[in-house]
């Protein structure tokens, strides 16, 4: 049995948008969505950058400030949910039936290798920035403003999410009202 790419990808997306605003980039507002990897990139990752131990040390120190350990736990928890759902679907059982199986047998393996996942985050940053840059980033996040930025990221995300949802719903409903006849003519059905 293989965990499907779909479920795993969904889990990663859901994991606090894992990565979107958190582990790999909590530091800053993401300027845009990550560029999708081309099939070639996905199949054959780019050559690994040279990562020095000094860079890793600085990246780990930055990660302590950014809370990567907590985020890794969140990712694993989200994977747990995805696996429960996946196994339940595959085996025609309820998710409730799968909880004990996953918690007893599989989760210890994931929790036991959490350090491996965190190392990937460390290496992503250690390979992308110099030790000086990583130190300067940590200095920024240790200032009152940097600290405020980090402390308040989750709440700002929530507010923006809610505002965006409300906006999309409002525009959609306005559009529905404005063009009811046209929708009907084209065979468009509205959910109850």
């Amino acid at each position: 049995m293989k965990i499907t790419n779909h479920v795993a990808a969904g889990a990663l997306l859901l994991a606090g948008v894992v990565a979107a605003g958190t582990a790999w980039g909590q530091a800053a507002p993401a300027p845009a969505t990550a560029p999708p990897l081309s099939p070639a990139q996905a199949a054959a990752p780019a050559p690994a950058p040279v990562i020095t131990e000094a860079n890793r040390r600085e990246a780990r120190a930055l990660g302590d400030k950014l809370g990567w350990e907590t985020q890794v736990r969140g990712i694993i928890n989200t994977l747990r949910t995805a696996i429960i759902v996946n196994l339940a679907q595959t085996n025609g059982k309820t998710p409730q039936d799968m909880i004990a199986v996953v918690d007893d047998l599989m989760m210890p393996d994931f929790v036991g290798d959490a350090g491996g996942l965190q190392s990937m985050i460390v290496d992503a940053w250690a390979g992308a920035f110099t030790a000086d840059e990583l130190r300067n980033l940590r200095s920024f996040y240790n200032t009152p403003l940097g600290d405020k930025l980090l402390r308040t990221i989750p709440q700002l995300n929530n507010v923006i999410n809610q505002a965006g949802q409300s906006w999309a719903q409002k525009v959609y409903q306005a559009s529905q009202l404005k063009h009811t006849d046209e929708f009907t003519k084209r065979g468009f059905k509205f959910a109850p």
């Binding site: 049995m1 795993a8 990808a9 859901l14 894992v18 980039g25 530091a27 800053a28 507002p29 993401a30 300027p31 845009a32 969505t33 990550a34 560029p35 999708p36 990897l37 990752p45 780019a46 994977l79 696996i83 595959t90 085996n91 059982k93 199986v101 047998l105 599989m106 393996d109 994931f110 290798d113 996942l117 990937m120 985050i121 992503a124 940053w125 403003l145 402390r151 990221i153 989750p154 709440q155 700002l156 995300n157 929530n158 507010v159 923006i160 999410n161 505002a163 965006g164 949802q165 906006w167 999309a168 719903q169 525009v171 959609y172 063009h179 084209r186 065979g187 468009f188 059905k189 959910a191």
Partner: protein, 176 residues
């Protein structure tokens, strides 16, 4: 079509931004009810948003919404992709595009309401600096690479775990 669900999924998956103190957000002034000084903050927040490339994020969200609306239309109205695309592009999207400035304003407003004028200026200075620029430039790429690595990690661990516990999993009624 359950637009609330669609919109929720979209935004949860795509929007990533910075921070806002929850208490302040709850008490925040809504557009049109600006407290003194908020207009200044909005100007500064817009300048920060430009550096953070938030207008492009808003456009990306609209593009993603279009894709999701086409899928939802195909599902709920049992249309083929071509017909669903036509309905979305001809009828829905013009309304979304016409009001896109509202979306951008909604995405910027929390910055204006929850950071002081000097905070916003300092953030802009940081993100305009070489290090801030590098952070903004590098982050999406590092994120994509790390997501790939994380996905591979999850798949490997899952497969290893299944292999290790295959007898016990079968004993508990799981089929492979």
């Amino acid at each position: 079509m359950t637009m609330r669900r669609l919109a929720a999924g979209l935004f949860a998956a795509m929007v990533a931004a910075t921070a806002i103190p929850s208490g302040t957000a709850a008490q925040g002034t809504r557009p049109g009810q600006a407290a003194p000084g908020v207009e200044e903050n909005r100007r500064e927040a817009r300048a920060l948003a430009d550096i953070l490339d938030i207008p492009r994020q808003a456009q990306a969200l609209m593009t993603q919404m279009r894709v999701e609306m086409i899928k939802a239309t195909m599902r709920t109205s049992e249309m083929n992709e071509e017909s669903a695309t036509a309905v979305v592009d001809d009828i829905l999207m013009p309304n979304f595009h016409a009001r896109s400035a509202e979306l951008l304003a909604e995405m910027i407003e929390p910055y204006a309401l929850n950071f002081t004028f000097s905070d916003l200026r300092a953030l802009r200075a940081f993100f305009a600096s070489p290090l801030g620029q590098k952070l903004l430039r590098t982050q999406p790429v590092a994120r994509a690479q790390a997501e790939q690595a994380g996905l591979a990690w999850g798949q490997r661990l899952f497969q290893d775990s299944v292999d290790r516990h295959v007898d016990e999993l079968r004993a508990r009624g799981l089929k492979f």
